[in-house]
Amino acid sequence: MQLHSRFFGRGIAALLCASLLVSACGEKKAGSEQRSADFARLDAFPSTYSVTQSRPVLIQGATLLTGTGEQLENTDLLLKGGKIAQIGQDLKAPKDAQVVDGKGKWVTPGIIDVHSHLGDYPAPSIESSQDGNEMTSPNTAQVWAEHSVWTQDPQFPLALAGGVTTLQILPGSANLFGGRSVTLKNVPGRSVQDMKFPGAPYGLKMACGENPKRVYGSKGTSPSTRMGNVAGYRNAWIEASNYKKKWEEYAKKGGDEPERDLGLETLAGVLNGDILVHNHCYRGEEMAVMMDIAKEFDFQISTFHHAVEAYKVADLLAENNVCAAMWADWWGFKHEAFDMTEANIAIVDQAKACAMIHSDSGVGVQHLNEEVAKAMTAGQRAGFDIQPKDAVAWMTSNPAKALGIDAQTGSLEKGKMADVVVWSGNPFSVYTHVDQVFIDGELMYDRSDKKRQPRSDFELGILDAEGERL
């Protein structure tokens, strides 16, 4: 019951998930180089994330899924200075290195969940902890998801034990514009800034379809229809365009400083190319409309989330450089989630669009490898040649692209952040465990060592004063 109502509440915003392809995420659009104002306010709440990696790590003789389309057998991986230093055969262990026997084990890049509400919808889920959905106006672009994050949510360490090293925390989906997202490294943090992925772009959560029209329509206000939704988006973008122009003119010509507006700052940040649009959107035709709106106002959609019908418009997504984040098999809980195929991710992928798994769930986030395995199998049954070396990208490099952090993480490549998962076997088996998780080269989780399993403050003494929750 509770799960359902929460899901429905969130579902709205998550609907429109336009996947922004790699390059579109990170790059500024040519022609809009009049960057007169820092609309994104990138330094307002700066990342204080730090790595305390001290010793190199050599993982020997494992099977590597690189996230770049390769499966390397019996290969060594050297992590050094927080980075991936070397990949090859018979690497020499540096002095003091921690050596991991990788025989029989598989290694992947750290898993990235592009759609999470951890911290904003924490466990325990009680009245006072529902901090993910500012359901007070169709446009709440002024709110930032990071300001709701309860860093002691015990769901973070559980996700870590599932191999998740990075996640995007999104506000919910009741609104046309839900607010700003934040990308976090999955490390214990006393403040959310301790977890903020250094330099990751912000996202703007938008939502198509049933959620906004239901939430506001039921209050007798606009939007109450899908056309009402679209009018709401367009009005806001008109306002944001004017706002952006006003500041740019001020930068050029001086005069009185225009007044700041938090919501318009975020939208102008999108128009400026600094903030990525993450659009909850289930239906194919709605995704098409959203891509037209992006053209009208000259911005890029990064990713459609919950894109149950992405397979219907996979070619359009590829053409527009938009990613799709999908479930393996969640469907049918509302009409716009009815046209489901388990081959969704595979079809989008084969159409050369950027496809990925996402969770939107405290349980799902712990099993994204299994979700990818199901989607991979569905793709194989549909006749595509999709192997683990390909499918792993759906939980690593492609979500990194969607978040604009693919230059730093998401694949096993020299020089990238040493965000690495060591699996007890093939990660696409339900019986496989996460043995170890490294974030920036530091051992953050070890299945065989209680001392390397972080626990949030909440978990201390909660069942038994002298014990931990688990």
Binding site: I126, R190, R452, D457, L460, A465
Partner: protein
């Protein structure tokens, strides 16, 4: 868990399951027995098989465990007369609240025992504050409109727990029935305290009518009754005097009315609140009605407590009323142990010291017929060794025994304190316990 002395078992060469009792000798503390022996500047307390075996200035016996209490203070454990322990985890998280119900089906019959959670974090916390037992009562909130609309003044049955966190820690059920009169009763009963009074009167009358005509009523050959049979059953021990009726009232005139009511129905009454109790102390003493008060409350917070004052406990005790001191109103859940602070303030305002200790232990045990509350031969060994005066806010328990078992004093709060003792940058804290 009970142990016989190890040497015994070894000598016999057998270990009988369940009969293995540890003996504990608490040596050289200042001991407040709160019994015939009074207070001893320095004494030894011997605990065997969960009971106090002996208290004497010096005991030359061996024991499995010796606690050095030199310079410390030894008392019976604190007993909380009113709490919601194990029924409420976070007041503002409704899923964790089992202390109250709405709807008309249950009033006096409400028995929250099945909802009791001995693993609540509040239990180790209050235990570490020196509380070894507590009476747990259901409640009715006047903030809850549906509860008010139900016009029900009986909250249901209280039970008693030991604070050892064990699944079998319910010490006694049906310790008292709770009802609201006075100003709160008025809010619950449609606007007038007289109506609340009438509701209790009617319920007790019907309970008697039911008692005297049970068979006919059960057969359906009787007039329609206002209260459900379950409710009337629940009131039977109240009208036959085996279970006290705990009634809330603060205003002096309300207290007098409650005394009259109890007299009329020959009910064993315990008064809860009694902010203006001192004004009618003689009548309370004469009627032998014990009171549960918050001794630190001196606010004229409502018109029924205009006479609230800090020497209420002293004046009541001097008049011969048996006084139990609870934590402040707001502390009926998380900080039940603050009854110590209230009692200390009562001493500061005239209550004799030993009387104050009794008001948070012995008297509570007497009123609700619980174990503990004294240190004398045969008493249940619920014992606290304090680093100083237990009523002083700078003092704290160093050892807590419940039924002779040494208890952990670790709490979530001490865990958090230790984890963050030296705040530092980075994520290392997540790996500290």
């Amino acid at each position: 868990m009970k142990k016989l002395a190890v040497f015994c078992a070894l000598a016999l060469g057998v270990l009988t399951a369940g009969a293995y009792a540890e003996s504990i000798l608490i040596k050289g503390g200042k001991v407040h027995t709160l019994a015939d022996m009074g207070s001893l500047e320095s004494a030894d307390v011997l605990v065997v098989d969960g009971k106090v075996e002996q208290v004497a200035p010096v005991l030359n016996v061996s024991a499995d465990r010796v606690i050095d209490a030199k310079g410390k203070v030894v008392t019976p454990g604190v007993i909380a007369p009113i709490s919601e322990l194990g029924l409420v985890e976070i007041s503002a998280a409704s899923g964790t609240n089992d202390n109250a119900v709405t709807g008309e089906s249950i009033g006096s019959a409400f028995n929250p025992v099945p909802a009791y959670n001995p693993k609540s974090t509040l239990i180790p916390f209050n235990r570490a504050g020196g509380v070894t037992s507590a009476v747990v009562f259901p409640a009715i909130s006047t903030w809850d409109e549906t509860a008010v609309a139900a016009q029900r003044v009986f909250a249901g049955r209280g039970f008693a727990i030991k604070l050892n966190g064990e699944f079998n820690s319910v010490e006694a059920k049906d310790v008292a029935q709770k009802a609201y009169l006075g100003e709160t009763g008025a809010q619950l009963a449609g606007g007038s305290r007289a109506n609340a009074y009438a509701k209790v009167e009617n319920a007790l009358s019907e309970a008697k009518e039911y008692r005297d005509n049970r068979a006919a009523i059960r057969r359906g050959e009787w007039r329609e009754l206002n209260y459900s049979l379950a409710d009337l059953e629940a009131l039977q021990p109240v009208i036959n005097g085996t279970e006290p009726l705990l009634i809330t009232a603060d205003r002096a005139s309300d207290i007098l009315a409650v005394i009259e009511l109890a007299k009329a129905f020959d009910v064993k009454l315990v008064l809860l609140g009694a902010a203006e109790g001192w004004m009618v102390a003689d009548q309370l003493a004469q009627a032998q009605v014990p009171v549960v008060i918050d001794a630190i409350n001196n606010l004229p917070i409502s018109f029924s407590s205009l006479g609230a004052r800090l020497d209420n406990a002293a004046l009541l005790t001097r008049a011969g009323v048996k006084v139990a001191i609870s934590g402040p109103d707001y502390a009926s859940t998380h900080n039940v142990y603050l009854s110590r602070q209230s009692a200390g303030n009562a001493v500061a305002h005239g209550l004799p010291y030993e009387e104050a200790l009794k008001s948070i232990s012995t008297n509570v045990a007497d009123i609700f017929r619980l174990s503990g509350g004294t240190l004398e031969k045969g008493a249940t060994a619920d014992i606290v060794v304090w680093n100083g005066d237990p009523l002083e806010v700078t003092s704290y328990p160093e050892q807590v025994l419940i039924e002779g078992e040494p208890q952990s004093l670790v709490t979530r709060s001490t865990r958090l304190r230790d984890r963050h003792l030296k705040p530092a940058k980075g994520h290392g804290f997540g790996y500290r316990n």
